[in-house]
Point group: C2
Chain length 164, copies 2
DNA sequence: ATTTTTGCAAACCATTTGCAGCTGG
DNA sequence: CCAGCTGCAAATGGTTTGCAAAAAT
């Protein structure tokens, strides 16, 4: 699952590691070495990723963290509000929910790419709809499914050749 | 996963079973008895459901279809454009994509209920955004997460008692 | 008759968990 | 020290698949 045209990260308000430490402290839990490695690695780049990619990525970088700990820490990071889950396929993908502007996604069915975009009307609409239904919204997910510009270009012209 | 305030079904343009038969015929495949049982049962009501609920439901109704066939047929119905997948939790839920108006969802984090709503601005916004990005949209998913009216009422008053 | 489908059971695969030993505060 | 954490390996749970028997055209 690759990204395309990622948005600019926001100016940091304290590091993700720091926010994670605070979260853990409140619950009387510990910021251990594996957790530090994970939170640093994850917030070093702004990609979407899944548990498997994260394990592989870490291995490449020479840091070994067990799969179990990766899963446990991902859960914590979601609870801490640092990561958000993205369920587009059978495996759960994650993206930053901290130091990164709120946005929505377009999902290309050809190349499986996820493209981010920002649009303020969505938020407005979400509030209007929630109010109308007496619903107390805390978040939303808007995913547009279709074919991205790159795949459109790569495909349409080929049609001509198919006919020969 | 329960529904609340389902929308009125559209006037039928030929039965789901008929559309399924056409789909299978085109691919040189067969509308067998188990498949007929499934498509009829599924389109008899307008609930969201997952594979497990479907199997249980059928068993209650005295029709036995193996789990494998249920999964295989669900896949076919999605390919046929009769069902849509809804990935909110670890199990895949399904909803009608035929004979039912297009709509979006509110997902209550307290009771796990899924509430449907219709709003035409969303479709308009989806087109505007897609055009702006050169994306060819074929579908979208808009899910508002939060607390439904029933759970709001059930919770807020209880707070007072918690303080005693 | 030939091709597709079914049901069963086994396989799969992402994720979770029990546990013995390790570690941070 | 001592609660909380890690890694391992085994368990889980939803979903898929191989295969021989059964059904559809």
């Amino acid at each position: 699952m690759a990204d395309s045209a990622p948005l600019e990260p926001l100016v940091e308000q304290g590091s993700a590691e720091e926010k994670f430490r605070e979260f853990l402290e409140i619950r009387g839990e510990k910021l251990t070495e594996p957790r530090r490695v994970l939170v640093r690695h994850i917030f070093d780049s702004h990609k979407h990723f899944d548990a498997d990619e994260l394990v592989a990525d870490l291995r490449t970088a020479g840091r070994r963290v067990s799969r179990a700990t990766v899963y446990r820490t991902l859960r914590l990071l979601v609870e801490a509000g640092l990561l958000r889950e993205l369920r587009l396929t059978n495996r759960t993908a994650y993206e930053h929910d901290f130091g990164y502007p709120s946005h929505d996604h377009m999902h290309c069915t050809e190349c499986n790419r996820v493209i981010e975009f920002r649009n303020d009307e969505i938020r407005r609409l979400r509030e209007a709809i929630s109010t109308e239904h007496g619903f107390r919204a805390s978040a939303h997910r808007f995913v547009i499914t279709g074919v991205c510009p790159a795949c459109s270009r790569a495909r349409s012209p080929r049609r001509r050749l198919d006919l020969i």
